[in-house]
């Protein structure tokens, strides 16, 4: 028997989509049963109480979680989100109900051993509820009490060789697309770069030293499967320079209908026969394609590498050979100044594992130094950029101005010249001026 009546939530058990209500209920039941005979370290019935407090919100339309207090583990300034219920008497099982963010393996590849170990810890010491995964990429362990934080951390680090992720004014848990592990479009090894930088910057990840949070994300190509351009203060998107490689015979197979376009992504509907002219050539944003005499002709130099033709005919077209990353700075959600996407800072940089990605690290550190110097409290780097200008960032990053930095040049002539750029400097004498110009 359920601890709380949840008539509203119960309505979310029907319908095809996996029901989180059914799942929480199954966890509540499993804990109540306790087949393994565990000595649960937090309230056995916390899933029931979670349903209870949620049902209350469903009926009064307001959240019942309080502002997080400062809880955490020793020596770290992040990785735990403190959370308290504002009706602890009604729902004692979730009176204290903190979240732990656990560092996910890049690309979110797992074996069942790892997961089962983690589940065992969380069974004993937490709510038995998780998010797989949080929006930043962490494994989210949803709800435990303050005393369990250190215990869980200890067991994770000692037993599982895994650490907490980020929160607070820290580097946040970096995330990457699956990249080379299963994707033909990957222009660099997103997972390895993500891992390497995560390890390099463990200190920044765990100990708040920044004006505000800072996120890295790694997309292997312009398709953007981990949304780096929208969701990371520094976004790494794979790109390439050489010409797209075209196998004309396979193009012909697409045109002939032997291979489904876009790997079959549109097969749920009859879109008619594949028409390379309207589907590929006409859609090319740089208009650098033509299809003549059964050949796909590409003016490679004009291609902006949008991926469309490749996505549409993946068996015929392959990314170019000279590969690297474009680096974008400043993406963030709207608060305070309105939404921002990352702005292109580095059109192309090699991703060089052999020197331990030194040039990328130099860049990152230059950027951080600047932001830590110039950024205000709770100011994302995107906001610092807006406030001080793109050129200030580029300059700090050691990057020369490039037309690729802009979609178009400035519309206003409000240029902040510096004294040293102006012949004769700024020192002038009004008396001298008045000799030439009477009042």
């Amino acid at each position: 028997m359920a601890k709380h009546k949840t008539p509203l939530l119960d309505q979310l058990e029907s319908g095809p989509w996996p029901s989180f209500v059914s799942d929480i209920k199954q966890e509540a039941a499993s804990r109540a049963k306790n087949e393994k005979g565990l000595d649960y370290q937090i309230a056995v019935d916390c899933p029931d109480d979670l349903l209870g407090v949620l049902e209350l919100s469903y009926s009064d339309g307001e959240t019942h979680w309080k502002h997080g207090g400062i809880v955490g583990i020793f020596g770290y300034g992040g990785g735990v989100i403190g959370r308290y219920c504002d009706q602890p008497e009604m729902f004692p099982g979730v009176a204290h109900f903190h979240t732990m963010r656990v560092a996910q393996p890049m690309g979110m590849w797992y074996n069942t051993g790892f997961l089962r170990n983690l589940m065992d810890i969380w069974d004993l010491r937490g709510s038995g509820l998780t998010n797989m995964h949080g929006a930043t990429g962490d494994i989210i362990l949803l709800g435990t009490s303050t005393p369990q934080l250190e215990e869980i951390y200890w067991e994770m680090t000692h037993g599982m060789d895994v650490d907490l992720g980020g929160s607070g004014s820290n580097l946040r848990t970096p995330a990457s697309c699956m990249g080379m592990s299963r994707c033909e479009y990957a222009c660099y090894d997103t997972q390895e770069l993500c891992y390497n930088l995560t390890m390099e910057y463990q200190d920044e990840l765990h100990r708040p030293a920044f004006p505000y949070k800072f996120k890295f994300k790694f997309d292997g190509c312009p398709n953007g499967c981990v949304a780096a351009i929208a969701r990371s203060d520094l976004g790494f998107l794979g790109t390439f320079k050489g010409p797209i490689k075209i196998d004309q015979e396979v193009v012909a197979a697409y045109v002939g209908g032997e291979i489904a376009p876009n790997a079959g992504a549109h097969s749920g509907r009859d879109w008619g026969k594949f028409d390379i002219q309207s589907e590929v050539v006409d859609n090319c944003p740089s208009k650098c394609l033509s299809y003549e005499d059964g050949k796909l002709i590409m003016d490679h130099k004009e291609c902006v590498r949008c991926m469309h033709c490749i996505n549409t005919m993946p068996q015929a077209l392959k990314i170019g050979d000279e590969r690297g990353v474009s680096i974008f700075c400043g993406a963030k959600a709207p608060i305070l100044d309105g939404p921002q996407m990352g702005s292109l800072l580095i059109p192309f940089m090699e991703v060089n594992k052999d020197d331990d990605y030194q040039s990328i690290k130099d860049l990152i550190e230059n950027i951080w130094d600047w932001w830590m110097e110039e950024g205000k409290n709770r100011e994302r780097i995107g906001e610092t950029m807006k406030r001080l200008g793109f050129a200030a960032l580029a300059n700090a990053a050691g990057v020369e101005a490039d037309p690729r930095h802009v979609q178009e040049p400035r519309h206003n002539p409000y240029i902040f010249w510096k004294a040293e750029e102006v012949e004769g400097g700024w020192e002038r004498d009004i008396a001298d001026f008045r000799k030439r110009h009477q009042r």
Binding site: E27, F114, V162, H266
Partner: protein, 381 residues
């Protein structure tokens, strides 16, 4: 309950402490065929909804079966996923960046059998446990946030709105009949942890009443200057108040300047915004992330407010479904939702989707607002 120690000694927190070890290296978890062909993939095919086949330059083929999760999942559920991975996939699996699970096998028939098996698993309440789909030109899983399940600032629930939405668009998850992928995201307040600012369709919790001020406690619980600095519109100023003869340092809010962002509440628990009637949902559409054909784009607010109607938010899902269906019917192949709206013109978008246009949809936040107004005679009747 007896406290079970992990070995941690609270008196000597540094003793044997391990820290800064980061995540596990992903290579430990790659299935052998993935490891073998790492970085050497040649092309992929979507065999049927939810089933991908990747072919390596070596000729090896690997089959992926993708299925949904509610993201908020129990360890019981996760253990069941592990059981499946052990049975079918040599103990390997992965999660996608949109909270789906991928089971990887190296035989096509096994993949298809697995799909059937997954689609057969149901929760007691009747919903699918592991519905297969989420590939190609369809709707995939919703990136979302905590909502009433675990956060202090939400204006709506996350898990519930997601469940309600996905139930309504379920056939677009299991089939690939849209013009292009449609990415739905959900965030329960303007902090936008779901990063809904670049989504084809975004469900966003919004407040509409200015913060309450808990004068008596404010100065104890908050740094007043931080709360003041937090307000993007400068609506907050320091103030004093008399209550029962005592003077309290507090703040005053110019309510007509408030746009309910909640940033002050983030800094100060004595400024709560939540309100049954004030809170609800805004719908945004037309954002995207990929650079395919067109550039990444921001989502735009097209419905300024829909009341919270738990547990199933019927008005919201109805409007959302209407938008999705109209797009599905009207857009060109490969055309993302926002590109469609741009092509037909937003005036047509509102007409076709039968949405009301109101002054709330006209940007009035700072200088960039100007760039969303119309400076051309080009428009449609």
């Amino acid at each position: 309950m007896a406290f079970i120690s992990s070995g941690y000694n609270p008196d000597k927190p540094m003793e044997n402490r391990i820290s800064d070890i980061g995540p596990r290296h992903f290579s430990e978890y790659l299935p052998p065929v993935i490891k073998k062909n790492f970085g050497k993939w040649d092309y992929h095919e979507i065999l049927e909804p939810g089933v991908l086949c990747h072919t390596a330059e070596s000729g090896d083929k690997v089959y992926t079966v993708r299925c949904a999760t509610a993201r908020l999942m129990s360890i019981t559920h996760l253990r069941e996923i592990c059981d499946i991975a052990d049975k079918y996939c040599g103990g390997h699996l992965r999660f996608t960046t949109r909270n789906n699970v991928e089971f990887i096998v190296d035989d096509k028939q096994v993949a298809l059998d697995l799909k059937t098996f997954l689609n057969d698993q149901k929760f007691e309440g009747g919903s699918f446990k592991f519905p297969v789909g989420g590939t190609g030109a369809g709707v995939t899983n919703i990136v979302h946030t905590q909502g009433w399940v675990h956060c202090h600032t939400p204006a709506t629930d996350a898990s519930g709105t997601v469940k309600a939405t996905m139930d309504v668009v379920f056939d677009d998850f299991t089939d690939m009949k849209l013009p292009a992928p449609v990415r739905i995201s959900m965030a329960c307040c303007l902090n936008m942890c779901g990063a809904v600012h670049c989504s084809d369709i975004a469900i966003l919790g919004i407040h509409r009443k200015p913060p309450l001020i808990d004068h008596e406690y404010l100065d104890n619980l908050c740094e007043i200057p931080l709360a003041i600095a937090a307000c993007p519109t400068g609506a907050i100023r320091p103030s004093k108040i008399e209550l029962d003869g005592e003077t309290y340092k507090t703040v005053a809010i110019k309510e007509e300047r408030c746009m309910f962002c909640g940033n002050c509440y983030t800094m100060c628990p004595s400024l709560p915004l939540a309100d049954t009637e004030g809170d609800g949902i805004a719908l945004m559409v037309g954002g995207k992330i990929s650079n395919r054909i067109t550039k990444p784009a921001f989502s735009k607010v097209v419905v300024p407010f829909i009341p919270n109607e738990p547990p199933r938010w019927p008005t919201m899902t109805k409007v959302l479904k209407k938008i999705l269906d109209t797009y599905a019917e009207d857009a060109n192949k490969y055309e993302r939702l926002g590109d469609w709206a741009n092509r037909i013109g937003w005036e047509r978008f509102f007409e076709k989707c039968e949405l009301e246009f109101s002054s709330h949809l006209i940007d009035d936040f700072r200088d960039p607002a100007y760039y969303t107004w119309r400076q051309t005679t080009q428009f449609k009747w």
